[in-house]
């Protein structure tokens, strides 16, 4: 469904997510975009979308979605558009927007029960500007603004919990490298109305520093090691859609980390046992809380 010929990096994990979204949502969509890597999907005069597109600004894509949704509803209500002209409104932003600058607009759109889908392609940093850390950057990752021996000193913000606290219709974490899980969640969301939000982890060869061919391998390891839990929020409940094997039987998180340049400082010239332990401990603690 999504056209080829986009300017995104080879092996882009975000595009992998978006491609599947487009396949399932179809062409009767308006994508409302905020500043980020995917803004460059449409560079005049080229667009990969078979539906429509509106680029807004970094902070206010959900507000743009509000305007489009309301206007379409009014047009249909007044008979100026036929009901079959219904278009789904889809906000598409990166993590810089979703976790930070756009959070207020998203909170407000959920609060207003806006009927829309939100896709956050989360590559865990400000990718479009050269990969500086964002509020989505994981602990210890090296970015253009966290080049020290310990990497990023902060912790990834729990956006899933923040969004779910608003009690929207649906929230899910997904990843394009688990296409069955992703497809099932999009289908589920498609059948609902109201705010439906997705955080799509998007392995980023450029920012995370790995070979483009390894996007799927790394994405699968993110799920297998348990560092990227796949879950959904629906009707007030959080359900994990993929539960990795218990501690000891699942691969250690360093299997995921060591394949990415942004974590090499944890392994060479010397192993940073302390940080690796911390990361493993936080993953273990998370799953202990789940099971």
């Amino acid at each position: 469904m999504l056209g080829t010929g986009t300017p995104t990096c080879a092996g882009c994990g975000a595009l992998e997510n978006i491609k599947i979204f487009c396949d399932i949502l179809g062409e009767k969509t308006v994508f409302v975009n905020a500043a980020g890597c995917m803004t460059l999907l449409t560079v005049y005069p080229f667009t990969p979308f078979r539906g429509s597109w509106l680029y807004t600004a970094m902070a206010s894509a959900p507000a743009g979605a509000q305007g489009v949704r309301d206007a379409l509803d009014l047009l249909i209500r007044d008979g100026r558009l036929a009901p079959e002209e219904y278009l789904a409104v889809v906000v598409l932003t990166g993590d810089g927007t979703a976790y930070g600058m756009g959070l207020s607009a998203t909170s407000a759109a959920i609060y207003r029960k806006l009927d829309f889908i939100y896709i956050c392609y989360d590559n865990e940093g400000y990718g479009n500007t050269g990969y500086q850390f964002s509020a989505a950057t994981p602990y210890a990752a090296r970015t253009a603004t966290s080049k020290g021996p310990r990497g990023y000193r902060g912790y990834k913000k729990d956006l899933f919990a923040i969004w779910a606290a608003h009690r929207p219709a649906y929230v899910a974490t997904v990843i394009g490298t688990e296409p069955a899980d992703l497809a099932r969640k999009i289908e589920k969301a498609k059948g609902l109305r109201g705010p439906r939000l997705f955080i799509a982890l998007s392995p980023c060869p450029t920012g995370w520093q790995f070979e483009p061919a390894k996007t799927v391998e790394i994405g699968k390891l993110a799920v297998k090691t348990g560092i990227w839990p796949l879950k959904e929020y629906l009707d007030g409940k959080v359900v994990h859609t993929r539960i990795p094997p218990p501690r000891g039987r699942r691969p250690p998180v360093e299997e995921y980390l060591k394949r990415q340049g942004r974590f090499t400082h944890l392994f060479s010239p010397t192993r940073n046992e302390e940080i690796l332990k911390d990361i493993q401990a936080s993953v273990d603690a998370y799953w202990e809380g789940v099971i």
Partner: protein, 415 residues
């Protein structure tokens, strides 16, 4: 047609009502609030059929306004001052989308120090955005301008959003007699919105607000938008004739009041211009040949009508209710550039900065500005820009500073 007393805010709301707007994204800010309160009330009691959504910020409000207009409905919104600035990124952005809608700005001076009363620095911050700007001097003009603004912005040679500006307090909270046109007359003048090519439709995909890489393409899009803005001058003249037919009221891009045989002319925008008119009338009574030139349209800037009106004048007192810090009055700079080299005998321009933060401009000050400008035209010596500020005001300021104890601080100078 009925005639009743309306505040400037109520007149703006009436404009939206008569324009039969579909959609009103809103966010409250003093002194704009009465506009959205009035519309909300009309929706509640069934007198207005539109959807109003209170957004969480002006940035989002203007985004939603532009997005709804981009989808093909008629949109109205309103803000003021800090809110206007908070939405500034989107003011520039939606103008580039070429989506027509009307944004009423109720002028209020900018922070810091934050304050409530008006000057024009807020709206002038959008001077270069691509939004057209209509500046009102009376409550009647507010209502009429909203209707004119829709026709203007929606015109196929223009397709731009329009700001209708009115001064906080002096218009927003002030009631004046306003003629409210009949719906059927308005309908004749302002048919339902035709979005043309700008809409989102199934089976007819469109990408809007698309990225452009490369200065060449960018230059093309920006300059085309500039042309669209310039076109608005001619379009304004055309539609104002049509509006006169249905309303009996005639508007020009620049109002020239007793300018024809005037030697000295006031040049200013906004509601304080009626005070200048009052001064003109009184000065005329004692044989002083003065007039007032007031742009209603500030964007596009009506260069030619201004040159024509000022040809052969001795002097112009430019009154700026704004201040470009580090330069001076914005209108003074605008007018200077318009007149430079335009005619053989350019009048002297004397710059006055007055009415900042709602400070009054007294009748005597208008008289004195004429005297100063006349003297400059006779001697050829142009005085430096004059802030309208009196010794009494400074004395009161010193009194306040002594309460604030600023003088005690190191480096605070002498009080």
């Amino acid at each position: 047609m009925i005639r009743k007393l309306l505040t400037g805010n109520a007149a703006a709301a009436w404009g939206a009502r008569l324009a039969k707007v579909d959609y009103v994204p809103a966010f409250p800010i003093t002194p704009q609030t009465e506009i959205i309160e009035t519309i909300a009330h009309w929706i509640d009691i069934g007198q207005m059929d539109c959807r109003m959504v209170t957004m969480e910020s002006e940035h989002s409000m203007i985004t939603a306004a532009g997005a709804a207009a981009a989808t093909g409905v008629r949109v109205f919104t309103a803000t003021s001052s800090q809110g206007f600035l908070y939405g500034m990124e989107m003011i520039y952005t939606v103008a580039g989308w070429r989506t027509p809608f009307v944004l009423v700005n109720v002028s209020r001076a900018l922070s810091a120090p934050i304050t409530l009363e008006p000057d024009h620095n807020d709206v002038l911050a959008a001077r270069d955005s691509g939004f057209l700007q209509i500046h009102c001097a009376t409550c009647q003009e507010v209502l009429d301008s909203v209707l004119l603004a829709y026709r203007l912005g929606e015109n196929e040679r223009v397709r731009l959003p329009v700001i209708v500006n009115l001064d906080g307090f002096y218009l927003s909270f002030t009631r004046e007699p306003v003629k409210i046109p009949d719906e059927k007359n308005v309908k004749e003048f302002l048919p339902p919105y035709d979005p043309g090519e700008t809409h989102f439709r199934a089976g007819d995909p469109i990408s809007q607000g698309v990225v452009v890489l490369g200065g060449s393409q960018y230059s093309y899009f920006r300059y085309e938008t500039h042309y669209a803005s310039l076109n608005a001058l001619g379009v304004f003249e055309e539609i104002s004739k049509e509006y006169e037919e249905v309303s009996g009221r005639s508007y020009q891009p620049v109002e020239a009041y007793r300018v024809e045989d005037a030697e000295i002319v006031f040049f200013m925008i906004g509601s304080f211009a009626t005070k200048a008119k009052d001064a003109v009338d009184r000065l005329r009574k004692v044989g002083c040949k003065v007039g007032l030139l007031r742009p209603l349209l500030l964007r596009p800037f009506p260069v030619k009508p201004i040159i024509r009106a000022l040809a052969g004048k001795k002097g112009v007192a430019v009154i700026d209710q704004n201040l470009s810090l580090g330069k001076g009055g914005v209108l003074h700079a605008e007018l200077s550039s318009a007149l430079y080299g335009a005619t053989d005998s350019t009048p002297v321009l004397v710059s006055f900065i007055g009415g900042l933060g709602g400070r009054d401009i007294t009748r005597e000050e208008f008289y004195e500005m004429v005297a100063v400008t006349r003297k400059a035209s006779e001697t050829g010596e142009i005085p430096p820009p004059r802030l309208l500020y009196t010794a009494e005001e400074l004395m009161r300021m010193k009194g306040l500073q002594s309460i604030a104890r600023v003088a005690r601080q190191k480096g605070g100078g002498k009080s």
